[in-house]
Amino acid sequence: MIESHRGHSLWFAFILHRLSGIGLALFLPVHFYMLSLALTDPGQLDGFLAFTDLLLVKWAEFGLVFLLAVHMFGGMRLMALEFLPWSPRQKTYAAMVVALAFFVSTGFFLQAI
């Protein structure tokens, strides 16, 4: 069965927000755990942080920052939609969210390498 009722940009914006939320929720416990290693076993954390110098890992970090940025801007878009007077430019805003997230995460990436 064809299921093309989903094929529009605002639905993709929804799914992106949801997937980024899941991604962050999965990453966060790991992140917290790593940080608490800071005191219990600083060596291990430093080893980990060195590991993050690898390019591949840089890319993964880029992804994470992108997730965080896209989720945050997306969340702000949603709250603007809900709390501010209606704007007919919903698709533009959704596109702006992705663009901004790229901008921020690329900035991060370029700084990091």
Binding site: Y33, V65, M76, F108
Partner: protein, 114 residues
């Protein structure tokens, strides 16, 4: 399964987190410029009440926010309802509070005030 109160909590925490996340991102971009090290992180945060409050409120907010967010997703996508759903939501909340709280404590005030 979002009710008004859960909805309110999720939006409120989102509003709290937005500036914190922005701040965190700025710090991160600044911090990663010449690589990360434990010493660097700790030098910035150790003994700082400001950072404790900053990351502490973030952890509080994110625990509530993500617990509610995941609750919605597992009920919608995995069909979990009722007691199981509440149990799961509380579990996420507690887990994030514990892990997050511990991390914040350790990188900021664990060694005492400066």
């Amino acid at each position: 399964m979002l009710t008004l109160r859960l909805y309110f909590a999720q939006r409120l925490t989102a509003i709290i987190m937005a500036p914190l996340t922005l701040g965190h991102l700025v710090v991160m971009i600044y911090a990663v410029q010449d690589g990360l090290s434990v010493a660097e992180i700790l030098a910035r945060t150790r003994g700082s009440v400001t950072w404790f409050l900053f990351y502490g409120s973030f952890v509080l907010a994110v625990a509530v926010h993500a617990a509610i967010g995941l609750r919605v997703i597992i009920s919608e996508w995995l069909g979990v309802r009722g007691v199981m759903l509440s149990f799961f939501s509380w579990a996420v909340l507690v887990l994030l509070l514990f892990l997050g709280g511990r991390a914040v404590w350790m990188v900021t005030l664990a060694g005492g005030l400066q």
